[in-house]
């Protein structure tokens, strides 16, 4: 079986699930990595080292900035001429678009956000969450090639073998573009919960510290947000120590305590970290669905009956304003930091 693996990158940074996709492709045969854009040498080298048998580089000024249309046309042309059985992508904002368009060109379909994959004879069966993860479906694609975007941190990342090489091929770019890229600004907080190995999250409870006296002149709502921000500062400190990201419940985002980019679950994000620490989160269904695939879940909440404890491996009934800083101190000592 021949699989194209689209290596998704932005400003030189590769989405790590691209490498996981190479690992998955190798399980079933040949992995051909596709690297589009200018200055792709480093990425090409990495693709070989992560196990690609072949890398097709399409290095053209028209592809310097990602734009959906020329990228999709380039991919469709390559797929038409070298007929892979499967095209894998990491699931990102770009690949959803690119795969969507290419599937129209190739009269096939895309299985998105795939969390399980099996090959049974001729048939490829992908498992994916639907209804915000409340259900899973197994799906098949009758078109050729099958296209699938995989969720990050689900499939094992292959070991990197320094110096490994393979066949390098140059591909041709399709350059007709319908849009122009004028600029780019890095996200203020660069929240990428999908890639995070550790997430420390806060909920409504982070604003419940009566011991704090807000600065004078704030109205009730402003005082609540101010309190919450002090709470999130404690959470951020713990997250930073553990090399993780800061998450939030919908209640915290709706309350204006933290930006939407941090929201876990429901209309936010499903996350799969190794460690998830929920602080002051009671556990609405959407949040539980968003975080339950974490390997180890720790819940800290004042209310012993909070639903979050049903999903947790370790629970602490207590005041997060006392427990979280104490945990930060304890971890610092034990990790020798």
């Amino acid at each position: 079986m021949k699989t194209f693996v689209y290596i998704d990158h932005f400003k030189g940074e590769v989405q790590p699930a691209s490498w996981e996709a190479i690992g998955l492709a190798k399980k079933y045969g040949t992995a051909v990595a596709l690297v589009f854009g200018a200055d792709a040498d480093e990425i090409t080298k990495a693709a070989f080292e992560y196990g690609a048998d072949e890398v097709i580089v399409v290095d053209d000024p028209a592809l310097t900035d990602y734009r959906a249309e020329p990228y999709a046309s380039t991919l469709s042309a390559l797929a038409s001429s070298s007929t892979p059985d499967l095209i894998l992508f990491p699931t990102t904002a770009r690949t959803r678009e690119l795969a969507a368009m290419s599937a129209v060109d190739l009269s096939t379909g895309v299985l998105t956000d795939v969390t399980g994959f099996e090959v049974n004879g001729d048939q490829m069966i992908a498992t994916r969450p639907i209804y915000e993860g409340k259900l899973l479906e197994k799906t098949v694609c009758s078109g050729k090639p099958v296209m699938a975007t995989i969720r990050g941190r689900i499939f094992p990342k292959p070991a990197r073998e320094a110096g490994k090489t393979g066949t390098l091929t140059k591909g041709e770019a399709k350059t007709e573009a319908l849009s122009t890229v004028a600029g780019y600004s890095a996200s203020e907080s660069a929240v990428n919960l999908g890639d995070a190995a550790v997430i420390v999250s806060g909920g409504r409870g982070v604003s419940n510290n009566p011991a704090l006296t807000p600065p004078a002149g704030l109205d009730e709502k402003q005082a609540e947000v101010w309190r919450a921000q002090q709470g999130f500062a404690l959470i951020t400190e713990l997250a930073t120590l553990l090399g993780g990201a800061v998450g939030a419940s919908r209640a915290a985002v709706d309350g204006g305590y933290i930006t939407y980019a941090h929201q876990v679950g429901q209309t936010g994000k499903v996350v799969t970290p190794d460690l998830y620490i929920a602080c002051g989160i009671s556990g609405a269904i959407q949040h539980l669905v968003g975080m339950r695939n974490a390997k180890v879940i720790v819940a800290i909440n004042k209310d012993a009956d909070a639903p979050v404890f049903k999903q947790a491996k370790y629970g602490v009934v207590g005041d997060l304003f006392a427990i979280v800083p104490a945990l930060t101190e304890a971890m610092k000592k034990k990790m020798g930091k």
Binding site: R96, S179, Y260, V296, Y314, E329
Partner: protein
């Protein structure tokens, strides 16, 4: 400015969705406008307010989907169209895009077609780009901000890494994200107007398109394994003692 906002009707996000007999069941939870599509309607209304013009809401679905369209009318959209046909049972995203593209043509085109980023049910988020590809218009996806200047549209795309500014000439297809602004509540007048509105229902024959055969099909529906674990409660006489015990447990998991 002629704007079309594409919406879908889905079970309410609070619904307890389950697999029952191979079918998706949401009990007696109501069907509502897809929450992401409320942002599409909001984005469309903002552009109408800034530039003048009309907002048409377009939906593919059953008769019940008229309620979702009425919600958009109550928010302030000018008119609504439902595409409904007994042959539309197993639509995949490409199929939905083909039907939408045909309906957009029948409406007479637009300067801007606006989608929400994804639906709550399938959640694939493919339909906007597929519609753009089929009608051959530029796709400006995941817009957090929209600016129209002469014949071009400039958006700030919200990507994993940050914000990218991208422009294209109209007509364009857009998808919007939450930073476009909170969807307005339907006004009292809007609700009254919407309740009286007659929504045209177009069949596939009306928009001259054959029922698209699905490429993606579901072979099995699964309730996720219940992961209620026996929680181990960590207790102690002081936060320091509790934190100390908890830190040991976390380190013993070897997940750091």
């Amino acid at each position: 400015m002629k704007i079309i906002a594409c919406i879908k009707q889905v079970p309410d996000s609070e619904a307890k969705v389950k697999a029952e007999g191979g079918q998706v069941s949401w009990g007696d939870a109501p069907l509502v406008i897809n929450p992401f599509d409320e942002y599409a309607v909001e984005g469309a209304l903002q552009q109408k307010e800034a530039l003048g013009g009309t907002v048409t809401v377009l939906c593919v679905g059953g008769e019940s989907a008229k309620d979702a369209l009425k919600h958009a009318l109550a928010m302030g959209a000018d008119d609504a169209v439902l595409v409904s046909d007994a042959a539309l049972t197993d639509l995949d995203t490409v199929g939905a895009a083909r039907v939408l593209a045909a309906a957009i043509n029948k409406i007479g085109g637009a300067d801007m077609v606006i989608f929400g980023r994804q639906t709550l049910d399938n959640g694939a988020g493919l339909t906007p780009a597929q519609t753009a590809r089929i009608i051959g218009w530029p796709m400006l996806g995941l817009a957090g901000q929209i600016k129209v200047d002469g014949g071009s549209v400039t958006v700030e795309r919200v990507l994993e890494e940050g914000r990218q500014t991208v422009s294209a000439k109209m007509p364009v297809v857009l998808s919007v994200v939450q930073s476009i602004g909170e969807p307005r509540y339907p006004s009292f007048m809007g609700i009254r107007k919407a309740s009286k509105a007659t929504i045209p229902v177009w069949s596939l024959a009306d928009i001259s398109v054959a029922a698209p055969a699905p490429v993606i099909t579901r072979s099995e529906l699964i309730n996720p394994p219940s992961e209620e674990t026996a929680v181990e409660m960590i207790t102690g006489d002081s936060p320091t003692e509790i934190a100390d015990k908890l830190a040991d447990k976390i380190l013993a998991e070897k997940v750091l």
